[in-house]
Symmetry: C2
Subunit: 463 residues, 2 copies
Amino acid sequence: MVMANGQLAIEDLVARAGDAAGLATTLARCHPADAIEVLNRVPLGQAAAILLQQSAAVNAQLFNHPGLDAPAKLVNLLPADRAVEVMNELHTDRQVELLRHMNDKEQEALCGKLPAPVQETVRQLLAYPPSRAGGIMTTEFMSLPSAMTVAAALDAIRKVAGSKETIYAIYLLDPEEKTLAGVVSLRELIMADPSAKLADIAVVRKPVTVTADTDREEVGRLISKYDLLAVPVIDETRHVIGIVTVDDVIDAMVEASTEDAQKFGGMEALDQPYMAMSFWAMIKKRAGWLCVLFLSEMLTASAMQTYEAELEKAVVLTLFIPLIMSSGGNSGSQATSLIIRALALRELRLSDWWRILIREIPAGLTLGAILGVIGIVRIALWQKMGIYNYGDHWELIALTVGAALVGIVTFGSMAGSMLPFALKRLGFDPASASAPFVATLVDVTGLVIYFTIAWVILKGTLL
Amino acid sequence: MVMANGQLAIEDLVARAGDAAGLATTLARCHPADAIEVLNRVPLGQAAAILLQQSAAVNAQLFNHPGLDAPAKLVNLLPADRAVEVMNELHTDRQVELLRHMNDKEQEALCGKLPAPVQETVRQLLAYPPSRAGGIMTTEFMSLPSAMTVAAALDAIRKVAGSKETIYAIYLLDPEEKTLAGVVSLRELIMADPSAKLADIAVVRKPVTVTADTDREEVGRLISKYDLLAVPVIDETRHVIGIVTVDDVIDAMVEASTEDAQKFGGMEALDQPYMAMSFWAMIKKRAGWLCVLFLSEMLTASAMQTYEAELEKAVVLTLFIPLIMSSGGNSGSQATSLIIRALALRELRLSDWWRILIREIPAGLTLGAILGVIGIVRIALWQKMGIYNYGDHWELIALTVGAALVGIVTFGSMAGSMLPFALKRLGFDPASASAPFVATLVDVTGLVIYFTIAWVILKGTLL
């Protein structure tokens, strides 16, 4: 059953889903993450039946992990008294997350049955949006008066460790004001002289902190930048109201990557797994941008209408429209993905836009020249080999295509690299600059560039 | 100088770069992450001058952090004896990373001056590729015989904690075979009865392990799934040869997101910051895919050549080519980004392809119908309002455009969602399925769909 790597043969367990009691015993012995993988793969009703066969403590271990696909639905499928029992054993950040995924009625029903102090904390935390530090923090952190000795601190930690989400970061409070006075890590504590005062072993520099209002991506950036296991959330009076731990941040980072990838694909972020989403909800997330892009792209039809006379005179020009326009879109898409990431990683700031521009213009010219040469060679080859006859002026047509490629690829690189800056400047998320967005932007201008170049080169001959 | 948030006014410090001695003193008091931000923003020569004014121990703190943009170049700018002194104080994983970014000559010069045992370890680790667990692991982990008592273990940890990268995970070794027998966390150790044996407090289940050969993204997935602070790397004989810690994984995850975003943008991953990359190296990374896409997109020109007779009879059809083709590419790009992420997060497996297909076909039909209606309305409006005259058969043209949109958007959703599966099935990275790749795939087929529908609807009238 257990594979070489310590992971379980999930498939085998899923196949046993009918035997709730037997599977419950097996899963209780597995790592919670493996048990969760099995529960995610069986129908919700069966998953709830399995949970019911386990103790509330084992259930709580599972619900404390972030991996369950539909934890809120599962809690609601449990009998009310068991649901309350499990909720009571969860870390506050998980309690809040579960309640957040219930409708108002379910939330009220479950929340109302929790002990009064838990209820109060949970209701406070529910008020913070989940995209902010306040919405993902936990209130179960380890804090001690800074005047305590190391030996006394270790004793105190030993006693309460079980109920804290992490004990690796210990927050020192001013004995009088109870405000944040410093941070020590459990590692520093272990290495320190037992008779030393906590205040004396804490790092002298001010601890890194966030407020309840800090964006969760910024929290992730700080934790990663300063190599922290947790970051304290403080209020205006420097009282610690909670902490955000590194595992929450990893989850938040994975979610953010998914959102960015979906946005770059040209749609709204789904916010839930693809298969868990209802058909119409998914259509809604996709149709919006698709319509906006469609309406913008209609400008290409309008642009082409104005060139109708040219098109009728030289139908041969239409053959290259998709080729030339897509090349502009592709180079734009490359530039946009580069700049979005560089902005997200803070490698670039808004004021760097001109440095990018003076790099992207020669890049676009070079890439356009490469494609232009390939395009000209292709037309010459087809003409000489007799595969297709582009007419008497085929050299001029080849020249038009080559020159248009240089112009459009350069414009694509410029537009693609500047779009994220422009969005950021206007207060939008630079990650809204999707590949289809850039392609649409470049398509309309691309047509104008193509026909202008054609007019210049072919005037008097074909046009 | 210090801002409300505990972070420094980086700009002010950068402005003082000329005064190496003064700035060195200030930076030595900052959090290493802040000092690094300043060093990254001043010219390399000045950064090296500042480092020289600090102690080797402070230098080591900076080099142990992952944030420096060009750490290898900086080490090479230091005098040889200082460089060796700093290298000696670094964690092995950082030593290896620095050496990896030097050319063979520099690497040999520096490596040769390290103490023999360090040299041996480093040379062994350098043999692993950086994309594998062996290439990012550190050999400074905490291991103890499983027969030791908790009290003795805490004593042992206290003595060596300073030289280990993490002491939060302690690996228990079989007293005879020295193979991995279990894991305890420092937290469990602190909470345990001091007279208990380590073997008795360790979790009974087999610890999660990886081999030196495990892909670093898989390591990240395991650390995140099992909520670990570190994962042990074992060899065939179950001896622990190193550990990968959560902070390395966060860095690896950020890098992986960047690579995926760049690949989805239609290029090779850059592997280094945009501004740090040389112009020609960047062109190389972009030109490859751009040429492949261009050559594939040439098929659109070939396709249009075969429809030249139709085009000459009905130039009006060309007006909608960019509009219709881009819509197919956009819906394909949406579907691809959805599926790439779902595969990366293991929400979907290869065998799920048909479940996606039976979801994407109705999704494509619905989205296509929405765009089709908009397209028909637009043509009717322009015709009725006299903005443009599409000719006597404008209703048939509108119908052609509407039907083509349904067909092409559906085909785009299908092709876009199946492409990552196909790539994975063929052994490629599903993330190579970029937005431009999908758009190109859809463009050629889109033209065929458009002209086929036009032929069916307009035969006998326009065609």
